[in-house]
Amino acid sequence: MQLEARSLQLKNMNPNKQQYTITVYTENQIGLLNRIAILFSRRKINVESLNTSPSEVEGIHRFTIVINETEEVVRKLCRQIEKQVDILKAYYNTNEEIIWQEMALYKVSTEEIAEKVKVERLLREYGARAVVIRKDYTVFETTGQREETDKLVEVLEPYGLIEFVRSARIAIIKDSHGFHEKLKEFESTEPSEEVVENEFLDKQDEVFTM
């Protein structure tokens, strides 16, 4: 919660800063996480969330990184990321351009919750699900956007929230056609003009507003 308030504060300091989700397609190489992470830390950019997972293409990994920055900074960062040898492509998107979710787990005392809260209502209202119910504690799970998972924290806090954890963001880019076609381009020794890194030269406005 505090964090949220702070990032809002920061946001107010520079109105051009907003949340960006960076999606990075990479080879599966040891050390790559560090190579990517230091590009942020070197510039004193706080990584709000970072997730690594397989992608739609076998053998290719996908990083999802969330930062709060201006578009100019994010664009330059993406070029620095993409420049790394084992990285195929880095995209950045605003929240409007993606579908994103986070998952959260909440551990509460079963005794407390059974006495004071109407569990069923709670589950329905917040789209939560009980993952474990034991005599001593119960673990709920919700999946959603930050506000939704935060709301349940608020609700459960008065009942003694024992543990809370939230996952990194995962995101799907709305108008992406996936990486299969791009990969073919990358694999050919003589890529066509469509090849990715020249892509935004066509979007002159974006290039030239920097």
């Binding site: 990479t26 599966n28 040891i30 996480l33 560090n34 990994h61 040898v85 990285i87 694999e187």
Partner: protein
């Protein structure tokens, strides 16, 4: 990623390459021999290195390769990597370094950072403890991969010998292609010893996640040409990209057809002959007056293979704001990084320059060029005249360089250390051919000069190599005199001794009210030190001895150290003070 196991480096098997040379019958060799075989296949002839426990198997294998691979035993790994940098810069090939694990590897850090920021192609091999000891704080174990990640173009740890041929092929490809840079391969001792069935070496020419050269887009060349053809006061800035792209001829053709005045960055120096009529001098903090001032008056700025370093731009928000910018660069991340371009021309300048030359009109800009000349005259009166023909009793650095020019005729390779002497040498040295100026630009590494000169000589054995050193810088790596002695090398060492850490002293004088805080540096008798290493030399203080001393140094067979005492408190001007705009350049 966290649960990833060691994955073999993907090697695109290319039928074309394979069919060219028939694959030799597999034979049993160890990882160390595989490293040396890779070197031979890549045409390596010189290795700069220093042995130690974790790289002993490779040195043992090297014993049998001495006929084919020259190994230069340096006195410190930093010296080794700077030598490899000097080699790469004069030869245009990839420099190669050996170092052991732990302290051997950490001694490479300065050179890696230097090579990274100055785009120098290197392949460094470090030994590492046995794979089963990784992460146990074993003797001389250091996490070299993580230490060097931000200062390498690519790095990789090998724990299995079978990976070596493909990894080395990848290393050489990455180091030398696109925007070059240093690559470090850390090889655990077990992999060096391990025998495997060697099936020959395949050079790497494609990595799917790596695009060395962006595709050239004609429409942007056309737009750039249009802009240039309409310009009234166009101005070219060129950097090391021209040299790295081996595009000096293409560049000269572009300059000559377009008729546009051209100025160089520190690392672009020697890409265009210094006496070329359109070469208007040096950019940046201690660059020439005209190029700095007129940057803020030109209407089209054409930046070629340069990255708008802050030492070139001065205050960025007052830099060339009036100009439309055409930026040619091979590295997409450089475009718009510091200076927003109107027309970005991504690509290798060896390819883009001829296309652009084709489309630009043949022109001259006599009035515009005259403005550079007028500013030059002003600079001569205020600075250059006194620097080259001083009226003071004590010698100036500039007059030493002037006399050196007279004897080398612009044909020598000049290697410098870092400080006032570096700026003066680069300002006044004359160059007729490319790859003649070797200096630490982006990192400004004191101690670079002597070891880099050693490497420069191996990279250009037929040329005269002169290391111009400061009394402070020289003391950072002077142990490499031992390398010169043992390798029986011919390197001329010219120490410009002002008995100060001059560049820092200059700043303290100008910006800290002359509070000279720890810049007064004592030196040994350099001539005597050289003598200890069997290197001839002399020290002079009087102007009348200068020509003969320089001549004696150049005529001497073998290495020679000449120390010239110069004025203690001379300053380098002009100067764009830090935080000021290029048009606020000071003449005094």
């Amino acid at each position: 990623m966290s649960n990833a196991t060691t994955t073999p480096v993907p090697t695109p098997s290319k039928p074309k390459a394979a069919s060219k040379s028939k694959a030799p019958a597999p034979r049993e060799i160890n990882g160390s021999a595989a490293v040396l075989e890779a070197f031979l296949e890549e045409g390596v002839d010189t290795i700069f290195g220093y042995p130690g426990g974790a790289i002993m198997p490779i040195y043992d294998a090297l014993y049998d390769y001495q006929e084919k691979l020259k190994h230069i035993l340096v006195r410190h790994e930093q010296g080794g990597i700077h030598a490899a940098q000097g080699y790469a810069r004069t030869s245009g090939r990839t420099g190669v370094v050996f170092a052991t694990s732990g302290p051997g590897a950490t001694n490479l850090v300065t050179g890696l950072a230097d090579a990274m920021i100055d785009s120098t192609p290197l392949v460094c091999i470090t030994g590492q403890v046995f794979a089963h000891l990784l992460g146990t704080d074993a003797f001389q174990e250091t996490d070299v991969i993580n230490i060097t990640t931000p200062i390498t173009k690519w790095n990789y740890q090998v724990t299995d010998a079978t990976e070596i041929p493909a990894v080395l092929a990848k290393a050489f490809y990455i180091a030398g292609s696109g925007r070059p840079g240093p690559v470090l391969i850390d090889i655990t001792k077990n992999a060096q010893i391990q025998k495997f069935s060697y099936e020959g070496y395949k050079k790497c020419s494609h990595i799917r996640s790596y695009r060395p050269k962006p595709i050239v887009r004609k429409e942007y060349i056309e737009k750039a040409a249009q802009l240039i053809n309409q310009a009234q006061r166009p101005f070219i800035l060129f950097g090391q990209g021209v040299i790295l792209g081996k595009a000096e001829k293409e560049f000269q053709a572009f300059v000559e057809k377009s008729g546009i005045p051209a100025a160089w960055t520190l690392l672009g120096l020697s890409a265009l002959s210094t006496d070329h009529p359109l070469n208007v001098g040096m950019l940046g903090m201690h660059g020439n007056y005209g190029p700095n001032v007129l940057t803020n008056e030109c209407d089209v700025l054409i930046a070629i293979g340069m990255r708008f370093d802050d030492r070139v731009t001065g205050r960025l928000d007052k830099y060339a704001k009036q100009a439309q910018v055409v930026h040619l660069d091979i590295d997409p991340a450089e475009i718009d990084k510091n200076v927003k371009s109107t027309i970005p021309v991504w690509g290798d300048c060896k390819e883009t320059l001829p296309l652009l030359t084709e489309l630009v009109e043949k022109k001259t800009y006599p009035e515009w060029l005259k403005r550079f000349k007028d500013y030059y005259k002003e600079e001569v009166d205020a600075v250059i005249k006194e620097e080259l023909n001083p009226t003071t009793e004590q010698m100036t650095m500039g007059e030493v360089i002037k006399v050196l020019n007279q004897f080398t005729d612009g044909d020598a390779v000049i290697v410098t250390d870092v400080g006032q002497h570096q700026m003066v040498a680069c300002r006044y040295a004359e160059f007729k051919q490319s790859r003649s100026n070797v200096t630490s630009g982006g990192l400004g590494t004191m101690g670079f000069g002597l070891p880099a000169a050693i490497g420069a000589k191996f990279g250009a054995p037929d040329r005269t190599v002169v290391a111009i050193c400061g009394d402070g810088s020289f003391q950072m790596t002077l142990q490499e005199l031992g390398t010169i002695m043992q390798s029986e090398l011919d390197v001329k060492i010219l120490i410009l001794n002002n008995r100060f850490l001059g560049m820092v002293r200059q700043w303290q004088q100008l910006f800290n009210d002359k509070r000279y805080s720890f810049v007064d540096i004592a030196s040994p008798d350099f001539v005597m030190v050289a003598k200890g290493y069997g290197i001839a030399g002399q020290s002079i203080e009087k102007r009348e001895d200068l020509p003969n001393a320089i001549k004696a140094m150049l005529d001497h067979k073998g290495s020679y150290l000449l120390e010239v005492f110069v004025g203690k408190e001379n300053n380098v001007f002009p100067m764009v003070p830090q935080g000021c705009s290029v048009s606020e350049i000071r003449l005094k």
